[in-house]
């Protein structure tokens, strides 16, 4: 489904992503972990067209997508969230969701004037979906508030909701549950499971290891921009490199990156 071939990206002297290759094949949910600053977010930026790789290739459904602008990639059904949530602060919570629907006829100038009834129908359908998502994320009471007024965790949830509205085939999630209350986290887990039933695939960065272990049949581990492990979470817990770089057997040792 998603393939990255020998991708590189550096900032100044820092090799944020270094000779990185992977192939998601058709695994339902793939986890990505790694110490802070190991390049996970940068990798996401590379895949989704927000950064251009210094070198390397990215394929989605066997089509090359490296070098495509971000919105084209998103239109192909590869949608992401942002690690530091970026809600649209002055739009209402509902509008945040509605704006995320793909292929909206009403976003083109001419149909606005010539196909108003079609647009209304589409809006109604999208609104219904938005309401479902709001309910699920427990944001329904805030639907008409500007999103900038949400708490940190609520913004995080809204961003997740936005991704769901976009009808994606593959979702890239960057720490979707950071700052989210544990009981809601449970629900998100259920949701992800449900969606996989419908054929949606996930590729997610997450520092909550129990959750990763539970959710992801396959786990990739990055360190210093490189892929150091690819396998099941169980194996990862035993892999000395992973333990040393990421999990830590002796907590308390101060570590930088």
């Amino acid at each position: 489904m998603l393939r990255v071939l020998n991708a590189n990206k550096s900032f100044g002297g820092i090799k944020a992503v270094n000779r990185f290759s992977m192939d998601l094949k058709d695994s339902l949910i793939t986890g990505l972990v790694g110490p802070n600053g190991s390049g996970k977010t940068t990798l996401f930026h590379l895949i989704t067209g927000f950064y251009e790789p210094d070198s390397g290739e990215v394929y989605f459904d066997d089509q090359p997508i490296h070098g495509l602008p971000a919105h084209k990639i998103s239109q192909k059904g590869l949608v992401r969230n942002f690690q530091h949530s970026r809600v649209l602060p002055f739009l209402t919570v509902r509008d945040n969701l509605l704006a995320s629907c793909p292929h909206q006829l009403g976003e083109k100038i001419l149909p606005v004037f010539f196909l108003p009834s079609k647009i209304r129908a589409q809006e109604a359908k999208n609104s219904q979906k938005a309401d479902e998502v709001l309910n699920m994320l427990k944001l329904d009471h805030l639907a008409d508030q500007p999103a900038g007024r949400l708490s940190y965790g609520q913004q995080k949830l809204l961003e997740l909701g936005r991704v769901l509205m976009a009808d994606p085939r593959l979702i890239l999630l960057d720490e979707p549950t950071a700052g989210v209350n544990p009981s809601l986290t449970r629900q998100i887990v259920e949701l992800i499971r449900e969606l996989t039933q419908k054929g949606v695939r996930f590729f997610m960065v997450e520092h909550n290891m129990p959750l990763v272990a539970e959710l992801c049949p396959r786990l990739l581990v990055m360190d210093a921009g490189e892929l150091i492990f690819d396998g099941s979470p169980k194996e990862a817990m035993k892999d000395p490199k992973v333990v040393e770089a990421y999990l830590g057997k002796d907590p308390g040792a101060a570590r930088g990156r």
Partner: protein, 290 residues
């Protein structure tokens, strides 16, 4: 009576201008400080065309087309810039347009300006009078208003706001930020061209002096004081600013103090601006009520 009609016509012209800027600044977050250039392009286009003997309706359409086209041409390069950089580049562009009108004398007569621009004639003789011109501008402004209202309350308007709030999010959601911005700039400049045409046919004389930074500031005031990012904001703003400006002429200043006339008016204007911003930073019609 004519004075009132005159003020209303001015306010309508500024309404169109403010709406055209609001589409960019209020909805799309583009600080286009060169809006006066499109105003000027519109005015000069129709002036040159109608002075050459073509009918007014043709001039108006060409004014909008030329302004829109200019908008399109500068939009692509300028939109590589973000935020204040776009602001300063468009501001520079606005001044460049004025200097061009000023120096290309073979076409624009330079600082001498173009006198004798005809008023619309096709409705008959009476059109030359102010009530008819008011009607003419009212109809065009209403059309522009209706068009914008439709556009901005549609998903298109929502998408513009997405671009305004966060370009990265727009891109992540599959919307080409550039394409939305270009459309906003082109639509905005087309409307500014319309305002320019109205201005030229109303005043019947134009010169580069009409298209200075001052005008830009006035348009900006209309948008922000009225309430940016709203449908009625620019309308309210334009009427407020123009009427207030004229109202200042009625400050009771005894004739012994004639020398202080302009200074007093200016100080009051400035003071009121400051107070309005302190009391109503979101404008008269805020985008969000608390």
């Amino acid at each position: 009576m004519d004075y009132l009609l005159h003020i209303i016509i001015l306010a309508l012209i500024y309404t169109t201008l403010a709406m055209s800027l609001n589409l960019q600044l209020g909805y799309t977050g583009l600080y286009n400080f060169g809006q006066v250039a499109f105003f000027g392009v519109g005015a000069y286009t129709t002036a040159l065309i109608t002075l050459a003997g073509y009918p007014v309706w043709f001039g108006v359409i060409m004014a909008m087309t030329m302004a829109g086209l200019t908008g399109f041409l500068i939009a692509y390069p300028a939109l590589r810039l973000s935020g204040d950089f776009f602001g300063i580049a468009t501001l520079a562009f606005g001044e460049m347009a004025r200097l061009w009108f000023l120096n290309e004398r073979w076409l624009t007569k330079g600082p001498m300006g173009l006198p004798g621009i005809p008023r619309p004639q096709w409705i008959g003789d009476g059109v030359d009078s102010l009530p008819w011109f008011l009607l003419f501008s009212l109809v065009l402004t209403l059309l522009a208003f209706w068009w914008l209202k439709h556009l901005t309350s549609s998903p298109f308007g929502r998408a513009l706001k997405v671009v305004r709030e966060d370009e990265y999010v727009a891109r992540a959601l599959g919307k080409s930020a550039v394409s939305f911005k270009v459309r906003a700039v082109v639509a905005g400049s087309t409307l500014a061209g319309l305002a320019g045409a109205l201005w030229a046919h109303y005043i019947t004389y134009i010169s580069p002096n009409d298209f200075t930074l001052q005008t830009t500031i006035l348009i900006l005031l209309c948008v922000v004081l009225g309430g940016k990012g709203t449908i009625w904001g620019p309308v309210a703003g334009a009427f407020l600013v123009i009427f207030f400006q004229e109202l200042l002429r009625f400050l009771p200043i005894p004739s012994e103090f004639n020398r202080y006339l302009a200074a007093t008016q200016g100080m009051v204007f400035g003071l009121v601006l400051i107070i309005l911003m302190l009391k109503r930073p979101q404008g008269i019609i805020p985008e969000h009520r608390n």
